[in-house]
């Protein structure tokens, strides 16, 4: 399964929670990531290249939030594949997943 963040969700994603606006990380997680993880057992390819000005708060809530919502961090690192012109974005996302996994274990 493939999700194009910039084309299917918002070209300018912004905000951590839904109260911060319609293009928040929380909404992206609820409406795109969680259904994809639930309905498809294969890897999920997330295209980040078409989104502009991604904020760390958005990334942390969308992906770190998956671990807080009960998803297994190791499985997420295995299943989520990223396509990005900026190689630091996938690296930052994986950091949030790992950090939340450690926090949840503690």
């Amino acid at each position: 399964m493939k999700i194009n963040l910039g084309k299917e969700f918002a070209r300018y994603p912004a905000g951590r929670y839904q109260v911060d606006g319609p293009n928040s990380g929380e909404r992206f997680r609820h409406e795109f990531l969680e259904p994809a993880l639930k309905n498809d057992s294969n890897n999920i390819e997330i295209v980040l290249s078409d989104a502009i000005g991604l904020k760390s708060s958005f990334l942390e809530e969308a992906f770190g939030g998956l671990v807080r919502a009960g998803h297994n961090g190791a499985a997420l690192l295995e299943r989520l594949k990223f396509v990005s012109k900026d190689p630091t974005l996938p690296e930052e996302i994986r950091e949030y997943i790992r950090k939340q996994t450690i926090t949840c274990i503690q």
Binding site: Y12, A14, G15, R16, Y17, V19, D20, G21, I52, G53, L54, K55, S56, S57, E60, K85, D86, P87, T88, E91, E92, E95
Partner: protein, 142 residues
């Protein structure tokens, strides 16, 4: 007749070497100017980010402008010729995190003190990146 021919070959070779050296110097100069321009954009970002975080009122427009400023600087650092500097990704991630991880959304916005940890983190991330760009520029494009 033969000596004329040799003279011309030497003149042409000399011209070619001088031309090549001039081109190479010009390219290095352009790259150095570009890196100076990026450092200046980083300082503009620092100014805008500190002004945003220390403001009494949250501004959604400025919050989005700042994240786009970060996006443009990062894109420039990863494009030719700036990518020749091989800036470690940890520095770029720290730049984005320092400015856009906390206090960037209305839900957690609190006016920051000029010496708060968040402001110091922004200053450190930008100072570290500028000093790295300058060091690498000196080493590679002198």
């Amino acid at each position: 007749m033969k000596s004329d021919w040799v003279t011309w070959v030497l003149v042409l070779l000399g011209w070619w070497f001088v031309h090549k050296a001039t081109l190479s110097r010009e390219r290095r100069k352009e790259k150095r100017e570009l890196s100076a321009n990026i450092c200046s954009k980083l300082l503009d970002l620092q100014e805008a980010a500190i002004s945003f975080h220390t403001d009494k009122e949250f501004s959604s427009r400025i919050s989005n402008d700042i994240s786009q400023q970060v996006h443009r600087i990062v894109s420039q650092l990863q494009r030719v010729p700036m990518n020749e500097l091989d800036i470690p990704s940890i520095r770029i991630i720290e730049l984005r995190k320092s400015v856009t991880l906390h206090n960037i959304d209305q839900s957690d916005f609190v006016q920051q003190d000029a010496n708060s940890d968040l402001i110091l983190r922004i200053r450190n991330a930008i100072a570290d990146l500028i000093s790295l760009v300058e060091e690498l520029k000196e080493a590679k494009w002198r």
